[in-house]
Amino acid sequence: MEHALRNAETATVTLQINGALHTLEIEPRVSLLDALREYLGLTGSKKGCNQGACGACTVLADGERVLSCLSLAIQYEGREITTIEGLANGEMHPLQEAFLEHDGFQCGYCTPGQICSAIGMMREFESGLPSAVTSDVSSTAMKFSDEEIKERMSGNLCRCGAYVGICEAIRETYQSGARR
């Protein structure tokens, strides 16, 4: 796929978000986060730092967790974006239930990013991706421990300090096998 150089004013960008196609007339500089929040009214993804430090804007692109604030919307054409709004399918996602059950939040601002990040993280773990605390990266044997969860979730900050509940919610969801 190749595009001619598009002018600096606006471009027609088609995004697939939570299963629906949206065509926007936006400037190339519009981030995926701003496209979601300001142009499509999907305000679940949050703008915390807007510089890739806090993780509040985390969404899934083709199932992989990414930071929508450091993503240009135009770069994500052709990819399937899932936001927090797309997780509940009539009923809440098992990880959303677990966050409620384990009190994995206080103010809730970081929660959409935490949940999208954790879903991507669990998939990464299942794919066999090691982490900085995995003792032997050449081995495929890994344990879904709290140490692994904390390291793998270090890109999501919670200023209320609800980490204990967040960690419990993720561990329980992973162990129950209810993730998707």
Binding site: M1, E2, H3, A4, L5, R6, N7, A8, E9, A11, E27, P28, R29, S31, N50, Q51, G52, G55, T58, E64, R65, V66, L67, L70, S71, L72, I74, Q75, S117, G120, M121, E124, S127, G128, L129, P130, S131, A132, T134, V137, S138, K150, E151, R152, M153, S154, G155, N156
Partner: protein, 331 residues
């Protein structure tokens, strides 16, 4: 952020042509550094050529047992590749020590080489910075320079290169494959990044019309016994104060071969040739490792807040080599 034109390239040749056609244009990879710098007005391109969709993707095994990593392969994919994990564990460890899970899913291999310093003064438009604006001075010298360089600095710049991955590449003698309007060439990893000298605004020896297409890792059996250790202010998601990438081969209590590189200490990933000279052929013990560390850091110079890095680098080096001497015995 200033607005810009955007294009997505389908081939390496098209990417280079597009870049040449538009003045003040840049290649765009995962965007994890460039988009941030553009938002801060540090980078102000008029056009971006997106190279993430190029066929330069994928990781392949080379006939000699080395591997080739396509420039658009994401960090997570490199760290999770079987050949990388088995043959070059220090590279997987270095990647996983950097950034966060989200960023590793976005950032590309080529982009990692091209990322710019995280010096606070480089990021602060109100500060003097010879890297951002040549000739204005350096506020890091005499300023808060805890994260800054201790080796290879100049009176113009004491910034460090922020990459973890590149420290492993330096130890592994990686080869950078690039293509430009005049054709293809290779650059030995050690010659890819530059020391600041009088032109700290120029980070690399990549030509203005050149695109990184792949990183080649030559076969290196000893890299199986290798390690990357990163020392930082937080245990996760922070840049290195000091890091060490090393591979060690020992036999009968002697060092047969050593590869060592340091991160967080210089304007470029720092290959520790002085340390390697001391190590090769010497007894594989703590005393040798300390001598190697002393030799490498002999020319080190602190700037106040970063003086601690000199001793920290030595100790980290000794610690990693001691660990590798032990694990090497078992292999």
């Amino acid at each position: 952020m200033k607005n810009f034109a955007y294009a997505r390239a389908g081939t390496v040749e098209a990417a280079i042509t597009m870049l040449g056609r538009q003045p003040n244009s840049k290649f765009l990879g995962g965007g994890t550094n460039l988009v941030d710098l553009m938002r801060e007005n540090i980078e102000q391109p008029d056009a971006l050529v997106d190279v993430t969709g190029l066929q330069a993707g994928g990781i392949s095994e080379l006939p000699d047992g080395g591997i080739s990593i396509g420039a658009s392969v994401r960090n997570s994919a490199v760290a999770n590749h079987r050949l990388v994990r088995e043959r070059y564990p220090l590279l997987a460890q270095a990647i996983l020590a950097g950034a966060s899970g989200q960023i590793r899913n976005m950032a590309t291999t080529g982009g990692n080489l091209m990322q710019r310093t995280r010096c606070y003064y480089f990021y602060d438009e109100a500060a003097k910075c010879n890297k951002r604006e040549p000739g204005t001075g350096c506020d890091a010298i005499g300023g808060f320079n805890r994260m800054h360089a201790i080796l290879g600095t100049s009176e113009n710049c004491i910034a460090t290169h922020p990459s973890d991955m590149c420290v492993a590449f330096a130890a592994l003698d990686a080869i950078v494959h690039v293509t430009g309007s005049k054709g293809e060439r290779t650059i030995p990893f050690e010659e890819f990044h530059r020391l600041p000298g009088n032109t700290p605004n120029v980070d690399t020896n990549l030509g203005p019309d050149e695109l990184i297409t792949a990183i080649e890792l030559p076969a290196l059996a000893m890299a199986k016994n290798s390690h990357y250790r990163k020392v930082r202010d937080r245990s996760s998601y922070a840049f290195a104060l000091v890091s060490v990438a090393a591979a060690l081969e020992t036999a009968n209590g002697k060092v047969r071969s050593a590869r060592v590189a340091l991160g967080g200490v210089a304007h470029k990933p720092w290959r520790a040739h002085q340390a390697e000279r001391v190590l090769n052929g010497a007894d594989a013990n703590a005393e040798t490792f300390r001598r190697a560390a002393e030799a490498e850091l002999a020319e080190a110079r602190g700037f106040g807040y970063n003086n601690f890095k000199i001793e920290l680098a030595k100790r980290t080096l000794v610690s990693v080599l001691s660990e590798l001497a032990e694990s090497g015995k078992a292999q």
